[in-house]
Symmetry: C2
Subunit: 205 residues, 2 copies
């Protein structure tokens, strides 16, 4: 439906919303008309929150996670194990690992993964600062927790080559059958990997 | 997943996006992180477009459609038939009817439909101004193009009662089988209505 907008201001706002990923022109229109029905203070608060975030956001000097302070709450928490560093792709992955409550070390946020298709090379990522962090000492193990995709594997291998000469243990998150999945629906690669990488069973998972 | 945000600014922005209809916390996070990756000018343009719309938007004095001017482009277009007024619920419905290119009259935007469940009564809608517009003369026919729901029917009936004593023809959009639909999948009410309201067939639809 090629629509003519009754107002240029409306068309501009809808156009801006439609630039967001996964938001088409119809959804953009719905969102803009929703905001237009709210009072002015609510619209200003909506717009102000994203402007304030963009202008005032900081990234932790140590792990590059988003933060309100120069060093983030995780890196500056003395009760966390600073000898253990989990390498993740982005901020959302930090939040996902944190939500498991299974990890008590620190993070290192790469800011992406190597993806030639998207024009992302190693120089675009925080790999140099990871090497430097390890060179400064105190880190015993680096856990690679990247996507289990070709891009993730490429990045894992690139980091492996950078760190193999350094005195640090390198590990990668386990790949296997998701908890709750039935074997018949698992793909062959994952099922094969889960058999090769089987763990000792002592009556308790 | 009960997530702890690494930044209060991020949490605030995600919270604002999550207030939008159909946007959950996960999508809100994705949208905010997308905007955070854009440059500052793009984020300012995004936020500015909605603030500018909210602060500077006008509604046409005649039909109440959104407009950049006091009287909208449709109402001020001399080639349109000002004796024919199509009553619609909202701005999107004006755009939907315009997109059909089948209507050359003017509009009247109610700003909603009567819906006691949502606390919307006749006084919240632009029904008084419709009556006044007709009283001023020059309008021969009013077409009711509201949703074919109970709320739409209630509003149709309310407007009928308001206009029945006035010297104006009142019509309602045809209800029937959608073009391209198979009869076996049509609901009984619609199919029944389409038989009762059959039109003369002269070899051409």
């Amino acid at each position: 439906m090629n629509q003519e907008y009754p107002s240029l201001l409306l068309e501009k706002a809808v156009g801006e919303f439609a630039k967001l990923p996964g938001i088409g022109p119809k959804t953009a229109m719905r969102l803009v008309l929703h905001l237009l029905r709210q009072d002015t203070a609510a619209v200003d608060a909506f717009a102000g929150s994203i402007v304030k975030l963009k202008h005032e956001v900081k990234y932790c000097k140590v792990c590059h996670n988003i933060s309100d302070t120069d060093v983030c709450q995780i890196c500056s928490n003395p009760s966390r194990d600073s000898s253990l560093v989990c390498v993740v792709e982005n901020i959302r992955d930090v939040m996902a690992v944190e939500a498991t409550r299974q990890f008590k070390g620190l993070y290192h946020v790469l800011g992406g993964i190597i993806s030639p298709m998207d024009g992302v090379g190693p120089a675009d990522l925080q790999i140099g600062s990871l090497v430097q962090r390890i060179a400064e000492g105190g880190i015993k193990e680096v856990i690679l927790a990247l996507s289990t995709t070709m891009e993730g594997d490429t990045t894992n291998f690139y980091i492996y080559r950078k760190l193999e000469k350094m005195n640090v243990k390198l590990s990668v998150i386990a790949r296997g059958i998701s908890v709750g999945d039935e074997l018949q629906y698992a793909d062959e690669v994952t099922l094969g990997r889960s058999i090769v990488n089987r763990t000792v069973f002592s009556g308790k998972i």
